[in-house]
Amino acid sequence: MMLELLSVPAVILILGAFVLPLLPERARNTAFLIFPIMALALIWTMPEGNLLQTSFASYELELLAVDGLSRIFGIIFALITLIGGIYAFHIKDLGQQSSALAYAGGALGVTFAGDFFTLFIFWEIMAAASSYLIWARETQESDKAGMRYLLVHIFGGGLLFTGILLHLSSGGSLYIESIEPAYTTANIFMLLGVALNTAVPPLHAWLADAYPKATITGAVFMCALTTKSAVYVMIRLFPGWEILIWVGVIMAIYGTIYALLANDIREILAYSIISQIGYMVTAIGIGSELALNGATAHAFNHIVYKSLLFMVAGAVIYSTGTSKLSELGGFAKKMPLIIGLYMVGALSISGAPLLNGFVSKTMISGAMGDAHLEWPILSLLIATIGTFLHTGLKLPYYTWFAEKKSEFEVSSIPANMKVAMGIGAFFCILFGVAPNLLYNQLPYPTDFQPFSVYNFVEMTQILVLAFVGFWFFKNHLNVDSTISIDTDWFYRKPAGVVRYAFVKIPNRLFGVAETVSLKLAKRLSAASKNPMDLILPSFTMQGREIKSDGFTAPISAALAFILFGFLIASLVVLL
C-alpha cells in the first residue's frame, strides 16, 4: 500500500515537502524541481480510470481518478509548480520551499480525488500550506493578512464539509459526480464552500487581501493553484447550474472595477484573477461541452499568463523594493526585457489574437453565442476592455513609463527569475499560435476554430479603441496611495469592536474584581487582628496597644474544652 501511494502525484509532492528538510541546503533548490517533474511525467503517462482505492472506516476511497479533465488540470498544476520552482531557485528558505510543494500537492490531490473525503483532506492541506507563503514575508502586515486568509479558508472548508456531510446523510454518493441543479441545503453549502475558493463575491475578499502581501515567489504559486483547483471542482460538481452564468458576469465586472482602482501592482493582478475566473464560472453555468472545454482551456491559459504577470510584478518588487504605482515610474529603459515579457502576458490576458488568452476566450464566447446569451457576451466584453485597461495599460504605464514618483534603486534580477518568466511567455505564445496542442488535451473532443475573421475584427476594434480611450482619459485612473474597501471590511473593521467586547472588557472586569477582592482581603485581615474592636468597641480600651495574641487565653480555654469533649467521647466509644 505504501508503495502504491507513490503512484499518486499529490503524494510525490507532499513527500517532497518532507524530504527537502533532510537534504543539504545547496541541493534543495534542484531537488525542488525534481518532484514536480516526476509528478508531471506520472500524470502524462497514467492511464484513465480509477487507479487506486483504499478503505477508510466503512468507506472505499478513490485516491486517483484519472480522466481527460483531471489530467489537463494536473498537467498545468505540475507545470506551474516547476516554473514557480525555477522562479524561486535563488531563495534559501526551507519553510517556503516545503510549503509550496505541499500546497501544489494539495492542488493535485484535489484534482485526482474521486471521492469527497479525499477531496476535502487535500483541500485543507492547500489552505494550511499556502498560509505560510504569506507569513514568510515576515512583515506585520503579512502576519495579520495570513491569519485572516487562514481563518477565511477554514470557514470555507467548514462550509464545504458541512455540505458534504449533509449530502451523504441525505443519501448522496460519496463519489464525485456532477450534481443536478437543485437548491437543497447540502448543495447550497457545497456550492458556497467551492465558491469561496473560486473567489466569488462577496466571498472573494481573502484573495485581494492576501496575494499582494505574500512573498514574491509565494504569490506565483498562489495565483495559480487555489482558485483554479476550485474552478476544477466547480466544473466537476456544478456544470450547467444556470445561476453561475450571471454570477460569473458579476465577478468579471466586479474584479475589473476594483482592479482599475487598485494602487498595488499585485492587487491589480489579484482583482484581475477574480475577473478572469468570472469567464470560467459563466462557462460552467452554460454547461455545454464547448463551454466546459472553454472553461478548462481558459483556466489552463489563465494559469500560464497570470503566473507570468505575477512573476514580473515580483521582479519589479525585487528590483525596486516597492509595489505601489504611487511610488514607481520612470525606469522603462532599465528593464526592457522584463517589460517585453510582461506585455506578452498582458496582451494574452486581454485576448489579443495569436496569444493564448484569445484561443480560450473565443471558445467561451462561442459557447455563449450558441446558447444565445447576448447580454452576458456584451458584459464580458466590457470586462475584457477593463482587463486590457488595468493589466495591459494602467499597470505597465504607471509602473515603467510614467513620470518617476519617488526615489528608488533599480537592482538587477537573478537569471533564474528571467528564465522562469521566459518559459511562461513561451507558453503564452505557443498555445496562442498552435491552439490545437491545448485543444487536443481538453476533456471533450472539439474542432473549434478560434482564428476566424470575425474574432480578429472583434478583438482588434475593441483593443484599439480601448487604447485610445485610455490614452485620452488616463489621468482619471487612480494612482494615489489608497486602499480599496471591499467585503473584508465586514470582518476587519468590526475586529476592533469584537476585540473590545470579548478581550478588553473581560480583561478590565477581571482587573476590577482582582483589586476589589485584594482590598477586601486586606481589610478582613486587618479586622481579624482585633475582632472585639468591631463586635464590642467599648471592650477595647482607648490607647491600649492591640496585640493579635491578646485573646489567646479565652480561645485556648474554648479549644481545651472541645479537645476534652473529644477525649471523653472517644473514651466512651472505646471502652
Binding site: L260, G369, E374, I382, I385, Q461, V464, L465, S484, I485
Partner: protein
C-alpha cells in the same frame, strides 16, 4: 506615443473595418452585427464608461487612506 505608433493602430483599425464591411458584410449571428463598427464603438465607449464609473465608485465609498484599518 510616437507618430508611427498611432499610424500602426490606425492601420489595424482600418483593416478590421474593411474586413467588417466586405468579408463579414452578411454576417449576422447577433443583433449588434447590424450596427456598423459596433465593436469599435463598444470598445471606446466601454473604456470611457469603465474609467469614469470606477472613478465615481472609488470616490463614493471604495477608496480610503492606507491606514484605514489601523486607525
Amino acid at each position: 506615443m510616437k507618430n508611427w505608433h498611432w499610424i500602426a493602430l490606425g492601420v489595424l483599425l482600418i483593416t478590421s473595418l474593411i474586413l467588417e464591411f466586405t468579408y463579414l458584410a452578411d454576417y449576422a449571428s447577433h443583433w449588434w452585427n447590424h450596427v456598423p463598427a459596433f465593436y469599435a464603438l463598444w470598445g471606446g465607449l466601454g473604456c470611457v464608461a469603465l474609467i469614469f464609473i470606477s472613478k465615481g465608485l472609488g470616490k463614493i465609498f471604495i477608496l480610503s487612506d492606507e491606514d484605514y484599518y489601523d486607525a
